[in-house]
Amino acid sequence: MATKPKIAFFDFTSCEGCQLTVVDLLQTHLGLLDLVEIVQFREAMSEKGEDFQIAFIEGSCSRKSDEARLQTIREQAVVVVALGACAHLGGINALKNYWPIENVQTYVYGKHGKDAYESYPARPISAVIKVDAVIPGCPIDRHEFLRIVQLLLQGRKPRLPDYPLCVECKFKENACLNTLGKPCLGPITRAGCGAICPSFGDGCEGCRGWAPEANFAYMREILRGHGLSDADIDARFTMFNHYQLQQMGEPAPVTTPLGPNKTAPLPTSAFAAPKED
């Protein structure tokens, strides 16, 4: 029998929910362990091997000192897979990119925050190293993970759906939330999750990234039709895609939701910053 491909999981700035989704997948697909050898998965195991061929990386890169670790993984791995929205898009972590990093550090941790908590604007891992494949979503869809692993094991390059979420939503025979007055980003979001959020009555939030040729202007018109302010629409566009919109430049709608002044600093927080002795 040929040796099994060795795979490893790594986490950077994230909630580790995508790796947990992989653990959940094993509930129904324990046979996956017959096909691959997991040599590193810190959240679930103490054993540690460095001779992996496929690296799954969860999380954004949000500090300088993590770049070297990413480079080391890249040098070892034949295939690097970005696992989930944080690694793929920057995701939720990039919400802090609204403000200068020093401002964010002191807002949450007080005047020592800048020295104590190393951080810089959150980015997807593709901003630091070459990425060969992506498994989108917040969190990933376990069935898509399985499909992509199967393709990688066959030596094939995985492809993501190149159409918007609405296609899958129609297949599910869901009533369109946008026509029911509930804001949904399905028309501009890449499909692949089976339209899970609209299927549970909640509008798509764009965690899988934009569909090719997404029409932002028309999406904005639809959302205005729900009576949403531009600031509210911006908040929806940026929830998972702040970094992407920044990179796109125009027509990226990035404003500070609390006010028109885009560079207004965060005020002093009476809530989060700790008392100081």
């Binding site: 509930q27 999380g59 802090k96 949450v108 917040c138 299927s199 002795d277």
Partner: protein, 433 residues
């Protein structure tokens, strides 16, 4: 007696998030004994600033993949209390079911996959699948039920979809509820086997008396809302959580420390057990007796057995709640309405798997979050872990370093730390005295 010991565990495994254990003993004296937190900071309070209140629970569930429903629930309760939203009995019932699903998922993951390998002499659950296949299959079966329970009512466990301010956006068919009810009944054999297995493990004997803090309710063993209880006697409304957590920057530390009546306190399953064991369902009380747990218990390693007791309790509670849902049916209720007013503030508190969790928001009259604060259980436990480590190390000095390393890792793991909930306790430097 060993004179010099150096233990350096870089990135403790089988915990959520990144932490290092450093022990340095010279000439029999502890020079250094610390749990260093090296997780990247994420700044959720800043992320929430200026966002519509409707996004808060979906943003904060992303604090933690394991406690996603717990963060969402605490966030919703903070928002609802700020915006004076009234919840229906059905909403309260369905949220409890989701919460139990997550607690079962988290506890099963912890005791079977993260703790059990230490006792069964393997590095992880993966060799366990070969050496003890029935144990692993049972754990996966139970975990799958827990995940399916969350998914039926909330869409998925990580990250919940259908839970919204004031209620739910979707409801399951009653046939789905019936199916879950049957599966819950069938799960009882697995629950019994779980109590048997963990009752047979040689838990380390180590005690250090400390303060235990958990949410308390007058007549049931609850996890959502209630008052803040302490084994040192005080009971406070959740609005006054700051009097309990007392987050401070200590001069020798860059972390936010918490302390209530003593230098440190413990939260989590053992704290809940110590504070309200009398409200456990009968089968859970019997399980506690079988596991050798009796209140007050001062052995932090037994936090894992308290989790087993809560698994028993929650499965019974799930059966009662599902029966109630089947009896009353499910109404497609619209979420309760919100009242927006300038400077509205609210605190939400839940006892998530790892302990008491607080969210506090201030929401403007146009529905945007002006201020946010999240105080998470692992942050509250760190001071107590540190003190336990310093008390444990002197009892281990005659043991080989590998054994010391394992015991220290087991102690940290017993707290089930969730370091990726990386608000407020980073770069901890505990300076040995």
């Amino acid at each position: 007696m060993t004179e010099n010991i150096k233990v350096n565990v870089h990135h403790v495994t089988r915990v959520e998030g990144h932490g290092n254990i450093v022990v340095d003993v010279r000439a029999g004296t502890i020079e250094k004994c610390e749990l260093q937190i090296v997780e990247t900071p994420r700044f959720f309070e800043a992320m929430l600033h200026g966002r519509p209140y409707t996004q808060a629970s979906h943003i904060t569930s992303r604090i933690c993949g394991i406690c996603a429903c717990g963060h969402a629930t605490a966030s919703l309760r903070a928002t609802e209390r700020a915006l004076q939203v009234k919840l229906s009995e059905q909403t309260i019932r369905l949220r409890r079911l989701v919460f139990h699903g997550e607690l079962l998922d988290s506890h099963i993951l912890h005791v079977y996959m993260l703790v059990a390998p230490d006792f069964l002499g393997v590095g992880s659950v993966i060799p366990l699948a070969t050496s003890h296949p029935e144990v692993v299959k049972r754990a996966l079966r139970m975990k799958q039920f827990a995940g399916d329970l969350c998914a039926a009512f909330a869409g998925r466990h990580t990250h919940p979809i259908a839970m919204t301010v004031g209620g739910f956006t979707q409801f399951p068919a009653l046939s789905k509820v019936e199916e879950l009810r049957e599966r819950a009944e069938a799960l009882l054999a697995d629950v019994d086997a779980t109590v048997e297995l963990f009752g047979s493990l040689p838990w380390p004997s180590f005690e250090r008396e400390t303060e235990y803090v958990a949410l308390v309710q007058p007549d049931y063993y609850g996890f959502i809302d209630g008052e803040i209880g302490s084994t040192d006697g005080d009971t406070l409304p959740v609005d006054q959580y700051r009097a309990v957590t007392n987050e401070r920057l200590a001069p020798h530390s860059t972390a936010k420390h918490t302390a209530f009546n003593r230098d440190s306190y413990m939260v989590g399953a053992l704290a809940r057990y110590n504070l309200k064991h009398q409200h456990l369902h009968p089968r859970a009380k019997a399980a506690a007796a079988h596991l050798g747990l009796s209140a007050p218990c001062y052995n932090p390693f037994l936090n894992s057995t308290a989790q087993v007791v809560e698994i028993v309790h929650c499965v019974d509670d799930v059966i009662l709640l599902l029966d109630e849902v089947l009896k009353r049916g499910i109404a497609w209720e619209k979420p309760g309405p919100v009242t927006l007013a300038p400077g509205a503030r609210g605190v939400g508190a839940c006892d998530v798997p790892r302990g008491i969790l607080f969210h506090e928001y201030q929401i403007s009259e146009n529905g945007l979050i002006e201020e946010a604060n999240c105080v998470i259980p692992t942050g509250q436990n760190l001071g107590n872990i540190d003190r336990d480590m310093r008390a444990l190390v002197p009892t281990l000095l005659t043991e080989p370093e590998d054994s010391i390393r394992l015991k220290m890792e087991m102690l940290v793991r017993a707290y089930d730390p969730c370091i990726s909930c990386s608000t407020h306790f980073l770069n901890v430097e505990f300076v040995g005295k």
